[in-house]
């Protein structure tokens, strides 16, 4: 015997190493036994000896003193692993359905909750932040409470904030800060550009707990009249206009023609309180902050009573909102006392920053709807898992019956199945978490906030998956324990499942119903967006629209008016331009002057040159158009405004009160009515508009419209003309009219993408569920189909038979889905998609068709498989 051959030595080493696992008391004998046998085997070949020695670790491991339960569980875990590997297709299908359900639902939920409550870049503990609003009789903004009641909620003005900031010492409120945004022209190392700027109070960054990436933020000392001029720049500005130079701290930049020393750089993606709009990037956010004390002397500063500032307070740790509200009541009283003329009866309110200033009923409906989407997908995914598990139950029940007959206890069976199910759910959850983290990391760039995985939702979703998994994974045990072992064994495995085929069919019906509901929802959203953009006045397609804010440069209102007029005159000289118009736009409250101001309504005030009506093709309904001779004392109103002020009668000749906050109240006489023209895409009917003459002094931004058959061709020339009129001026936007209009429908488009993706995932899951059920049904009816074919049935009839069964499921599901979708469509119409009829056939028919097509696709393979059943083989099987 070659006892010293390397293989034998290797085998001996293996045994010696394995012996370390054996309890010391038994170790010597154990080693002797293995070496004794190894010696005997070595004579038959080194290879066999090595194979023999490979079993030593397992034997040694089995001798370790285990706790009883642990060893039993370990055995069950091994069994579960074998089960999972033995049926890879089933395991993968269950895990895939769970992963799709978990990823889609948790990712969507996380995005939604992050948008509402997540941390914004540079803002820590957003949940503690409250926005401060004031209300008074003449305020122009309001908020709708969840009960539908409206409260006036206006941003605080300079004077309001001056009063409120004194309250910083209140017990429940830590600190109050504010910023007010204005467009400014800022020049770094690469010349001047028009940027979003902001004036921030000394406490502003402290409230938000923003940490500078370089330098420092403002202090109270910076925010005092006469303090050194300092500025904080956004990370984007620092990179693009200061070349990301660390030495830029302390260097002066020109803002609005004045020199400010840069003292700090804000963190990346931080642009103040206001979130960037959907589709905007870092270049659109606030780039430069100046101390609030400078706002009062800024050329374009709003008046002291203009509701312009965004005030934000931080709740002290442990303090409740209600305490803070009580203290803020003091602010309201002081505001009222300080300006009894304009602010009598002032109130102040605090709103959690999470939900934004529009936590209205519509918002709640939208949020409820958005949150229902991920849950629906999760439900459909779980239904699929249930379906797959039930399909296997009959087969597995037989195996369990054998185990029971061989002496396994009931507890053991239940434990085995539990571990098997747990293994699937744990694998799916781990995989989902990985995918979600990757996905959210990818998506973060598209959102203005940090998207973090919502672990509460993840736990809930995983818990639900576990409950569904266990409930359906334990069905085999239930089937077995319910019957006698012999009875179960004798039963044909393929008929064992018929009982719960009904349950599975029910699950598919539920899936189809939910999918159809989601699809119809997508359809409604899509139709709404279509209607919004389709409502764009056709004239917009023949316009080049440029927006300007000359005040940014410190132009006086008179100079600004002069600039606008020159620009319009020069542009009109181009032969391709058929008409040129100028206009301004403001939010106002208006009403007949003989009625109390309290009943005034919100409206848009458009100041226009007479050519505007022609440029926009605005249809005159009654009265006359504005002419160049008209001053600000006459106005045209839109059809909607006419219905409001003179329902059923003629508004012509009526005297209107138009209240532009911060400005003197105006009286205008109505001379004409024009048809409704939407100023931006809206899901509702365009709001009331009051048209007056273009102002003689231009305090804010204005819009230039050039009418031409080829507006794009004018773009380069217009840029040249602007440069020639005043090289300092930059436009805030310059686009073809309909494109600028469509841009404003972005939010609705994002909603459609979100709902659409959810609906398609749901559709795919449902189609999989239907496929699984139909395949199973075909398997169950194999014998019957075999007999039918044997007695001469045409394969085509078999296909038709299976398809009929499938269509029955889809049909019932669709009927239920429609009955769910209709009330939802009515609710949507009642809340936020008022433009589309609730029963829009174009929202319902194509989506139902898509679902039906998916149903056909899912059942055609099982049906064809049924038609190819070999009758002889099937009959012989029994």
């Amino acid at each position: 015997m070659k006892r010293n051959s390397p293989t034998i030595v290797l085998a001996q080493i293996l045994i010696a190493v394995a012996a370390r696992l054996v309890p010391p008391g038994d170790r010597a004998r154990w080693r002797e036994e293995w070496l004794g046998e190894l010696d005997a085997i070595a004579a038959r070949g080194a290879g066999r000896a090595l194979r023999f020695a490979l079993g030593a670790p397992r034997d040694a491991w089995s001798l370790r003193p285990p706790t009883r339960l642990l060893s039993a569980v370990a055995a069950d875990v091994r069994y579960a692993a074998r089960q999972l590997l033995r049926r890879p297709a089933h395991t993968l299908a269950v895990i895939a359905c769970l992963v799709v359900g978990l990823v889609a639902s948790v990712a969507m939920f996380s995005i939604i909750t992050s948008l509402f409550y997540g941390d914004m870049p540079g803002i820590a503990q957003r949940k503690e932040l409250l926005r401060l609003y004031v209300g008074y009789d003449r305020a122009r903004s309001f908020e709708t409470n969840s009960d539908g009641s409206r409260v006036v909620a206006e941003r605080p003005s300079f004077s309001d904030f001056a009063i409120a900031r004194d309250l910083s010492q209140a017990p429940a409120i830590d600190v109050i800060g504010a910023e007010g945004n204005l467009r400014m022209t800022a020049a770094g190392t690469h010349g001047p550009t028009s940027v979003a700027g902001s004036f921030a109070s000394g406490d502003f960054f402290r409230v938000l707990r923003t940490v500078p990436v370089a330098g420092r933020f403002f202090t109270d000392a910076d925010d005092r009249p006469g303090a050194e001029p300092v500025a904080v720049v956004a990370d984007y500005f620092w990179r693009t206009h200061l070349d990301a130079d660390p030495a830029a701290i302390g260097r002066p930049i020109l803002v609005g023609g004045q020199s400010f020393a840069v003292v700090g750089v804000a963190p990346p993606r931080f642009h103040g309180i206001e979130l960037l709009d959907d589709g905007q990037d870092d270049s659109n956010g606030v780039q430069v902050w100046l101390p609030l004390a400078y706002a009062a002397s800024w050329p374009t500063h709003p008046s002291l009573s203009e509701p312009w500032l965004q005030a934000v307070a931080r709740l002290k740790p442990g303090a409740a909102l209600i305490d803070a509200e009580r203290q803020i009541g003091v602010v309201a009283a002081r505001i009222a006392a300080a300006d009894p003329d304009r602010r009598a009866g002032a109130s102040a309110s605090l709103r959690p920053m999470g939900f934004g200033p529009t936590s209205s009923f519509k918002m709640f409906a939208l949020v409820a709807l958005l949150l229902a989407l991920p849950l629906t997908i999760l439900a459909i995914g779980c239904a699929n898992v249930a379906n797959l598990q039930l399909a296997r139950a009959a087969e597995q029940a037989r195996e369990l019956a054998v185990r029971l007959a061989l002496g396994a206890t009931r507890t053991q069976l239940v434990r085995m199945l539990t571990i098997e199910t747990l293994a699937r759910v744990v694998a799916a959850t781990a995989l989902s978490i990985g995918i979600i983290i990757l996905l959210l990391g990818r998506l973060e760039g598209y959102f203005p906030i940090f998207i973090t995985i919502d672990w509460r939702v993840m736990s809930f979703a995983a818990g639900l998956a576990l409950v569904v998994g266990l409930a359906t994974g334990l069905v085999p045990a239930w089937l077995v324990l319910r019957r006698t072992a012999a009875g179960q064994l004798r039963q044909d495995a393929r008929s064992g499942g018929l009982g719960h085929t009904r349950l599975r069919a029910g699950l598919v019906i539920a899936q189809v119903a939910l999918s159809l509901t989601l699809l119809i929802l997508t359809g409604l959203f899509a139709r709404t967006a279509q209607a919004m953009v389709a409502d764009a006045p056709p004239a917009l397609r023949e316009q080049l629209v440029a927006n300007f804010d000359p005040g940014e440069l410190g132009m006086s209102p008179v100079q600004a008016r002069q600039f606008a007029a020159t620009l319009a005159d020069r542009s009109a000289t181009d032969a391709r331009v058929s008409a040129v118009s100028l206009s301004t736009q403001d939010a106002v409250r208006f009403g007949p002057s003989d009625r109390p101001a309290a009943s005034d309504q919100f409206a848009t005030l458009v100041g226009l040159t007479p050519s505007w009506l022609g440029v926009m093709d605005a249809p005159l309904q009654t009265g006359r158009r504005l002419t160049a001779d008209d001053d600000g004392s006459v106005a045209m109103i839109s059809a909607r405004a006419a219905e409001i002020i003179a329902p059923g009668g003629s508004p012509l000749g009526l005297l209107l009160r138009v209240d532009l906050a911060g400005a003197v109240e105006r009286r205008v006489r109505v001379v004409g009515v024009v048809g409704d023209l939407p100023t931006r895409p809206t899901v509702e009917r365009p709001g009331p508009v009051v048209y007056t003459a273009f102002p003689a002094e231009l305090a804010g931004p204005f819009t230039l419209r050039l009418r031409s058959t080829h507006p794009e061709a004018l773009e380069a020339d217009l840029r040249r003309v602007i440069g020639a009129v005043d090289p300092r001026i930059t436009w805030t936007s310059l686009r073809r009219g309909d494109m600028a209009f469509a841009d404003d429908a972005r939010e609705m488009r994002s909603a459609i993408y979100g709902v659409g993706v959810a609906a398609l995932v749901a559709l795919a899951l449902s189609a999989t569920g239907l496929y699984a059920v139909m395949s199973y049904v075909v398997l169950l009816r194999r014998r019957e189909i075999g007999v039918r074919l044997a007695v001469g049935a045409e394969p085509g009839r078999i296909v038709a038979m299976v398809m009929r069964q499938s269509f029955t499921l889809v049909g019932i599901g669709m009927a239920i889905g429609l009955s769910l979708a209709i009330p939802m469509a009515v609710l949507m119409r009642a809340t936020f998609v008022a433009r589309v009829p609730a029963f829009d056939p174009l929202a319902f028919v194509p989506t139902a068709g898509l679902l039906f097509a998916a149903g056909v696709a899912a059942s055609v393979v099982p049906a064809l498989r049924a038609s190819r059943v070999d009758p002889i083989a099937t009959l012989r099987q029994d």
Partner: protein, 100 residues
């Protein structure tokens, strides 16, 4: 009555046929050593199998370690008989191979 695995039943059968050493049982059953030995330990703990060591002198003469041999106990034989009956009943429930 404790549950016996298939492997344990095979081992009982091999012992019943007169195989006494772990290695012989491997040969007879075709199961690997890592399955045979833990089964033997378990059967011994249950009292179905007993083991003894070969005489020291004999091993020393052949210049090799001692070998351990296993035999069925009385209750082991009873257990085997019972299990075989049960397995035959179970076997009847399955369709015979090759028919389908």
């Amino acid at each position: 009555m404790p549950t016996l695995s298939y492997a344990a039943l095979f081992v009982l059968q091999a012992l019943n046929q007169g195989h006494r050493f772990g290695f012989d049982i491997m040969d007879a059953t075709g199961l690997p050593s890592g399955t045979i030995y833990p089964a033997l330990r378990r059967l011994e703990a249950l009292g179905y199998v007993e083991s003894s060591w070969e005489a020291d002198a004999q091993a020393r003469k052949a210049n090799r370690p001692r070998r351990r041999n296993y035999t069925l106990t009385r209750s082991g034989k009873l257990q085997l008989a019972e299990a075989e009956t049960r397995y035959r009943a179970v076997a009847k429930l399955f369709p015979k191979r090759g028919r389908a």
